[in-house]
Amino acid sequence: MMPSNYFEFEKPLIELNKKISDLKDFMDEKGVDLTDEIITLENKADNLREEIYENLEPAQLLEIARHQERPTTRDYINRISSTFVELHGDRRFGDDLALIGGIAIVEEQPITIIGHQKGQTTNENLERNFGMAHPEGYRKAMRLMKEAEKFNRPVISLINTPGAYPGIGAEERGQAEAIATNLMEMSDLKVPIITIVIGEGGSGGALGIGLGDKIMMFEYSYYSVCSPEACAAILWKDSDEASEAAKALSLTSKDLFDLNIIDKIIKEPIGGAHKDPDQAAKILKDEILAAINELKNIDKDKLIEKRYNKFRKIGEYQRNKEKN
């Protein structure tokens, strides 16, 4: 039987591991020395694992990014900070459990941290709306960022959402306005903003807390203009073409690094962050601290100017030698 937190594409590896454990059992039972064979197979398994993870199809990578057990914002906060105080509410309408935030200390460094929050059980996911925020989530995030600016704390923003919630209340209360305002104000926030995509980077809902001085992505996360399912449904009228769409959209960390959209790919523990959340959190913590160190002494006006230019130059186009 396949263990629950394995993926279909890992099947050959699972089979090989099963063979190894069978051999070990056989050795114990019969007292035959099979150590050499076992070592050979174990090496083979290591190579196979590496090969599988180095050649993931975008659609397979999506499975990892969306995995139920993938560490969430809260999992990382708990592991990287010694003290965390969660803060609630947008002061206008409500508190959005799909986008959380607060103040924390990471190795003596005070930070403000915001992030989409998914659940890891069905009930928790219902409560957290699967990490799909309403306008009040984006407005809470902005309130906390303004507070960070006032007290000169760097902002850490963890992205993990399939998208902003498409619902009646969200539209009535100005989902688009909330995201637009965040983009506008984040471009001028006078403290460093460090953004990390930890799982799903779904469209405007992700970008709504994503305009920063440094944009990083965990290796097996994705960041996309729209979900591959929606893309396939719109362009090819067939959501079954999602794996083709995932390829076409260039949504992997490697694609986006090559396109100069992100600054850094954060390596994950082998098999994905969910295989070793402690290790993933440690890597994340080091990256956050390194980024803060790099940015904290830059003059505020210079920081804003650099941030502006970072986004100003994104875009690929050509000058025409027009025929008409």
């Binding site: 902003a164 209360r173 983009l183 471009s187 405007g204 986004f311 994104i314 690929e316 186009y317």
Partner: protein, 298 residues
């Protein structure tokens, strides 16, 4: 390429000579084809309206007041003073940076259909003699989706407004970010919004006019960041489109959901203005704004 579009007053009407072919069926085909160019059926009330009459009525149905969608040049012709337009950045056009399937073909079709390079036209113009920087998006060009070029042209317009210290007028329309350019498109939201922040810090006026339909990444960036936000009657303004919402919540949506009137009621926009009063309204806003600027200078 735009030098002649202001002189053509009724450029929606292209009546061709009737065919003299004798075969009955051919005759009917031809007649139907020609009829298409002679009149239009109103999408809302199904009234058959002569195109000439429609054009004279600013492309608004004379019977039910439905506002038909406009091309960028028709919009400019209705909005700005004659012969006042100088275009910016007409020479930039899209590449296919992700090598996205069928993008080149779709782009070619859009170019042939509209005679334009891209989904937005930007430039300098006058409205009731007030100098402005203006951008007009055109839904006929790939649903006015925002890719690198739309983002770049909008940003250039914003920067020109800052540089020349003039009010900025943007008529938006959009089906969202352009999928075929992936994250390059999504990041245009960040780029344009950051430029708008600069504009506001510089003290420029920005009037955003949201036209039918505007959704997704354009709504969630510059379109909703105006000092003054105006729309036309019946305009669809959305973050997520109604179909997506219906699918997600599997409930019937309210009748006027995501209409300009709905947004007005919810405090999201300043005004819903009839197309025939749009130029006068913009003129009034610019007049009051300019009076303030002159007072400040004294």
């Amino acid at each position: 390429m735009f030098k002649d579009f202001f002189s053509k007053k009724n450029n929606y009407v292209t009546v061709k000579n009737r065919s003299k072919k004798s075969k009955k069926s051919e005759k009917r085909d031809v007649r139907e084809k020609n009829n298409d160019k002679l009149w239009t059926k109103c999408k809302k009330c199904n009234e058959i309206v002569f195109n000439k009459k429609l054009a004279e009525n600013s492309m608004v149905c004379p019977k039910c007041d439905y506002h038909l969608r406009l091309s960028a040049e028709d919009r400019l012709a209705l909005t700005i003073d004659e012969d006042s337009f100088i275009e910016f950045a007409a020479d930039i056009s899209s590449k296919n940076p992700l090598d996205f399937p069928e993008y080149d073909k779709k782009m070619e079709e859009a170019k042939n259909k509209t005679g334009k390079n891209e989904a937005v036209v930007t430039g300098e113009a006058k409205i009731n003699s007030h100098e402005v920087i203006i951008a007009v998006m055109d839904f006929n060009f790939m649903g006015a989706s925002m890719g690198s070029v739309v983002g770049e042209k909008i940003t250039i317009a914003i920067e020109k407004a800052i540089e020349k210290n003039k009010p900025l007028i943007i008529f938006s329309a959009a089906g969202g970010a352009r999928m075929q350019e992936g994250m390059l498109s999504l990041m245009q939201m960040a780029k344009t919004s950051a430029a708008i922040k600069k504009l506001h810090k510089n003290g420029n006026l920005f009037v955003s006019i949201i036209t039918d339909p505007t959704s997704g990444g354009v709504t969630a960036s510059f379109a909703l960041l105006g000092d003054i936000i105006i729309s036309e009657p019946g305009t669809l303004i959305a973050f997520a489109g109604p179909r997506v919402i219906k699918q997600t919540i599997s409930k019937k949506l309210p009748d006027d959901f995501q209409s300009a009137e709905f947004l007005l009621e919810h405090g999201m926009i300043d005004k819903v203005v009839h197309r025939k009063k749009m130029k006068a309204t913009l003129g009034d806003i610019l007049k009051i704004h300019e009076a303030g600027v002159i007072n400040d200078a004294q």
